[in-house]
Point group: C2
Chain length 237, copies 2
DNA sequence: CGTTCAGTTTGGCCTAGACCAATTTCAGAG
DNA sequence: CTCTGAAATTGGTCTAGGCCAAACTGAACG
């Protein structure tokens, strides 16, 4: 008999009960308050909060300070399939938009310089944006492009797409991209920019965009882990 | 003045201090005990534990009940690039191995039936394994293959690779694969199988393997989020 | 010298409650 | 009826401490 059957932690049992409770209600339905749940389930508020925190991280629940905890609305899950955010969203019938935080010129350094194959100190254009799906923040994205690109702001404003703007204004066409996906936990920056909780699980994608053989884009995107899937297709020789 | 400068939570300040502390020590160096840290930093053990928990989730620290909390050893980060675990690991110079949990025959149902394009109830072969890098558990994997495959166990034992076994015994060659990556939190199963903590961030990959146009494999892999990166390369037309 | 077993240490889980901040509620003023 | 402002409500953060389980320590024993 190898099964030692450690009893599941109390918070986890409660978590699954709350998950079931959430499944019954319509999106938006308010759950009892944390204090009420603690009293009702004969536990402490700390334990209730741990259970709720994980369900929030899974996109099952949502909560607002001063308001309450409620069944999360069925968020569309954004799936990255192609290379462009706007194209991916359109392919899935989602309304995508961007909020431009800023375009600046920065010197190349560290990994960016290496990836873009330029000398450290070379001027790069940095485009920082928030990506939204159905008007809700989904990701923070910072793209680094070689050279100074004075016309980029206007073209980006017209087309809304970085790739379109690059092609339109500078004839740069990204033909290949290499993406690396990994997990990360939300810190103060992500909390501020994406409006989520500290320690929330995120997916970070580093992308190297190539125009032919020439590195033309080095981007770091930080997605909410609960509304995002990354999809890739490969062929073996 | 839009900056509202919410002060960072106390646990987060402590987390970054502990991160710096960990960076100084060699891997394996024991940190002070939670009770000592709480006393030293003039905080509560609860707060210390929250800080440590996130650093554990990031792979910076490691802890063992009854022993202590210490600087994590520099784990190699496994990067998925091709379609096969064994090939990927070999390409990175990592010692990979598998622990077979079981091979069974199960009826097709739900998403698996749909993905493999078989009628619900059709017999599938289920191969469940733990994937290890340098003898440490990295992922749990459950592969579903259409049909009953009596010779699979032997071939798998000989080659160690599912893809090789499939080709060798049945002439099935997986030529294309579609991977979907998303986040998940560790539950009791993952805790038991991979030896990590409840609520630990994971990366889940669903893979549909195709032999030509024919669906031949539907696999769900659950990786530790701290020792895994997923890499994909795309070409745009 | 090795083994055993009780006591100590350390992390794992949980409780009870304090104080803060954002939101909502609602009575009172205009 | 609308606006204002205080009070109540609800989630956000943190404290202090209890009990358990796993690991370690060391003395007693064979």
């Amino acid at each position: 008999m190898t099964s030692q059957s450690h009893p599941a932690p109390k918070y986890y049992v409660l978590k699954e009960q709350l998950r079931a409770l959430a499944a019954e209600g319509e999106p938006g339905t308010l759950l009892p308050t944390e204090r009420a749940l603690a009293a009702g389930y004969g536990t402490s508020r700390t334990t209730v909060r741990q259970a709720i925190a994980e369900l929030v991280a899974e996109g099952v629940l949502d909560r607002i300070q001063g308001h309450g905890t409620f069944v999360a609305h069925n968020r569309p899950t954004y799936v990255r399939q192609l290379t462009s955010f706007s194209e991916d969203a359109a392919a899935q019938g989602l309304r995508s938009s961007s909020r431009l935080i800023g375009i600046s010129t920065v010197p190349a350094e560290g990994e960016a310089a290496q990836r873009l194959q330029v000398e450290p100190g070379t001027a790069l254009t940095r485009v920082e944006r928030i990506r939204l799906i159905n008007e809700e923040p989904l990701a923070h994205e910072a793209a680094l492009l070689p050279g100074e690109l004075p016309e980029l702001a206007g073209a980006l404003d017209r087309t809304g797409s970085l790739y379109s703007a690059l092609q339109e204004s500078y004839g740069v066409r990204i033909t290949d991209a290499e993406d690396t996906v990994q997990t990360q936990l939300a810190g103060p920056d992500e909390v501020r920019l994406l409006g989520l909780e500290m320690g929330f699980p995120l997916l970070v994608i580093h992308r190297l965009g190539l125009a032919g053989e020439q590195p033309a884009e080095w981007t770091c995107s930080v997605f909410r882990g609960d509304r995002f899937r990354f999809q890739a297709r490969r062929h073996r020789d």
